[in-house]
């Protein structure tokens, strides 16, 4: 198979992502001290998802991959989302 072109990222970009991740970790800790009722967990999960997306897109180069890889990745996310949400047919109606 022919060698695929490699994508190199600048240190500035990588450092920016790292900085964003650290800031978001601080935000996660910060919001845990605020009482938002039932919204505490969704907010924490939302921030965590955003952080995961940054890691996948930039550190794991998903942003620069072909269509097959992106579709594969999105299907795994959908699968996980369906699995978790379907569990709530039970948990939410007990």
């Amino acid at each position: 198979m022919s060698q695929e072109p490699q994508h190199l990222m600048s240190y500035t970009k990588l450092a920016s992502v790292l900085f964003a991740l650290l800031i978001l970790t601080g935000v996660t800790v910060g919001v845990s001290y605020i009482d938002m009722g039932i919204y505490n967990v969704p907010v924490a999960l939302g921030i965590a998802c955003f952080k995961v997306s940054l890691v996948l897109l930039f550190f794991m180069h998903l942003k620069y991959e072909g269509r097959a890889i992106i579709v594969s990745f999105l299907s795994t996310v959908c699968f996980l989302a369906i699995m978790i949400s379907f569990t709530f047919w039970d948990v939410a109606f007990r």
Partner: protein, 553 residues
């Protein structure tokens, strides 16, 4: 002619010799053969344990084992059969051997990862074996490792769970390899709708393996954490939720049922057209139904939990979804039968096994609807009805498909042919034994006999006696089948490259194949099951025989 030297005589990498040429091989065909012997070893053990369980149940009271040993026996039978035979059987052996050839490739995309998968499989098997003789004794939880029992029993659960975890890893890496191989190694001329159905089935399976296996892997690790550190994830005494375990367990283990059956369906989709000498009916419908089963089958896990105390809403939703899976499954059965309609059928051992598969699997599928409907399930839940149902699907389905695959690709893998007469006798014995073994279990289940019970009430004795007799017949049939295949090594009756008149690419290369599979560039047909050349050749042979006969007259 060096190009046609078989892979048995060509080490890969080339510098390896002797046993190392096997233990460090990166050739997909050698790995398939290594998987074959390993899987058959475990199958032999598991079927013997199953046989002993059935002998124990043939009469009331203790006969050959006590209750503790009985608990361990059905756990081991389940764990070994599921994780070491049924899940890896067809993909690891026939998938590894046939998939790259069917798509015109010379190997899988990650040959080293393939070797690692084999080592993980062996490591998992060894761990399962070690777990029997260490810790607190034989694991006795059943193959489902249900909490809270699995976190409280003193028996050696952690190592068995770790074995299942390792085997899951092996299965996942094989799945990853197959997906990548189909995408990246497929010959350029082969479009998606020209891929043989066995490869399609493995592709759909690989996605389920890749997506669902991590769920069980994490769940099994959580059991170990809970046992070691008393975390309280599943144990209600510590604030945990035992139903959460069941959800997580079945999120993998129900899709795993399709990991077990889809490759089997792929095998049948190859065998039926080959021996019908006819294009498969509804090629695209079978492809879409494979993907449909993979997707819909992943959404029905909680139908194992109707009596666990789940919400009524969940019971309704999961029951509805369960019925949806029946549709793509029925599409396949209809297509196989439709292919045989008005076909030029040639009876061979693989076809006989395939036909038995269709019948047994259909019974298994239909009785699955009894269990999928919440109302009826409550009556037969955890009875012998369930045992009969899943053996009809997993053994009558996947098991018989595995036997069919063995007989179909045996000449290709080893270049030798087995004895047909013995193969027919073995298949008949196994089928008759199967029916006598499992049909009484349906009745016992309807009568209320629970599963996993060491002893039973007098009203169940007749059914258990019948089931025992059937079990003995089944065991003899399978042993005869295996002996017949092994005897082919002694007889060494050479098989030609295409003994069945198959049209997929594996039949266009020598038997056994050379190291790089193709001695000449493969030619892809517009339609993967186009038998016009085979029929023309047969007609030409027929007319030449007729001419010779007339001349001799």
């Amino acid at each position: 002619m060096s190009e046609t030297t078989s892979f048995f005589n060509t080490p890969s990498p080339p510098q390896l010799k002797g046993i190392w040429a096997w233990l460090l091989t990166q050739d997909h065909k050698r790995l398939a053969v290594m998987y074959l012997w390993a899987v058959m070893f475990w199958f032999g053990i598991a079927i013997t344990i199953g046989f002993l369980i059935r002998i124990e149940l043939m009469s009331i009271g203790p006969t050959i084992m006590g209750p503790d040993l009985y608990n361990a026996a059905f756990t081991l039978h389940g764990v070994i059969m599921i994780f070491l035979f049924v899940i890896p059987g067809i993909p690891a052996i026939f998938g590894n051997f046939i998939l790259p050839i069917q798509i015109g490739a010379d190997d899988v995309f990650f040959p080293k990862l393939n070797l690692l998968s084999w080592y993980l499989y062996m490591a998992g098997g060894i761990m399962a074996l070690v777990s029997l003789f260490t810790g607190g004794g034989f694991p006795d939880t059943g193959w489902t490792f249900y909490v809270p029992f699995s976190i409280s029993t003193s028996h050696n659960v952690p190592l068995t769970v770790l074995a299942a975890f390792t085997l899951g890893m092996s299965s996942m890496l094989t799945g990853l390899n197959f997906i990548t191989t189909v995408h990246r190694m497929r010959i350029k001329e082969m479009g998606w709708m020209q891929i043989p159905l066995f490869t399609w089935a493995l592709y759909a399976t690989a996605w389920v393996q890749l997506l669902a296996t991590p769920v069980i892997s994490i769940t099994l690790l959580l059991i170990i954490f809970e046992r070691l550190f008393s975390i309280g994830l599943f144990d209600p005494d510590k604030g945990g939720d035992p139903l959460l375990y069941q959800h997580l367990f079945w999120m993998y283990s129900h899709p795993a049922v399709y990991v077990m059956i889809l490759p089997g369906m792929g095998v049948i989709s190859e065998i039926i057209p080959t021996f019908s000498r006819k294009a498969i009916f509804g090629y695209k419908a079978i492809v879409y139904s494979s993907m449909g089963i993979a997707i819909a089958g992943s959404l029905v896990w909680a139908h194992h939990m109707y009596t666990s105390g789940m919400s009524d809403t969940a019971i309704f939703v999961f029951s509805l979804l369960t019925f949806l899976v029946a549709i793509p499954t029925a599409v396949k059965v209809f297509s196989w039968v439709g292919t045989m309609y008005k076909a030029s059928i040639e009876m061979t051992p693989p076809l006989l096994y395939a036909m038995v598969f269709i019948y047994l699997f259909s019974v298994g599928g239909l009785t699955g609807l009894v269990l999928g409907a919440a109302g009826t399930d409550i009556h037969v839940h955890d009875t012998h009805f369930v045992v009969a149902h899943f053996h009809f699907t997993m053994f009558g389905g996947t098991g018989f498909a595995f036997f069919a695959a063995l007989h179909y690709w045996w000449p290709k893998m080893f270049g030798i042919m087995y004895d047909f007469k013995r193969a027919y006798i073995a298949a008949t014995l196994a089928t008759v034994g199967f029916m006598f073994h499992y049909v009484p279990m349906f009745i016992l289940g309807m009568m209320g006999m629970p599963r996993r019970y060491y002893d039973y009430l007098p009203q169940f004795s007749q059914g258990n006696l019948f089931a025992g007799i059937g079990g003995i017949l089944l065991f003899i049939g399978i042993m005869l089948m295996l002996i017949n295949l092994l005897l082919s090594f002694r007889k060494q009756e050479k098989a030609v490259a295409n003994p069945w008149g198959g049209v997929t690419l594996e039949w266009s290369i020598p038997s056994p194949p050379p190291l790089h599979n193709f001695v000449a560039p493969p030619t892809v047909q517009d339609y993967p099951y186009d038998f016009s050349n085979v029929l023309q050749k047969a007609a030409a042979q027929h007319s030449s025989v007729n001419t010779e006969q007339k001349e001799s007259e």
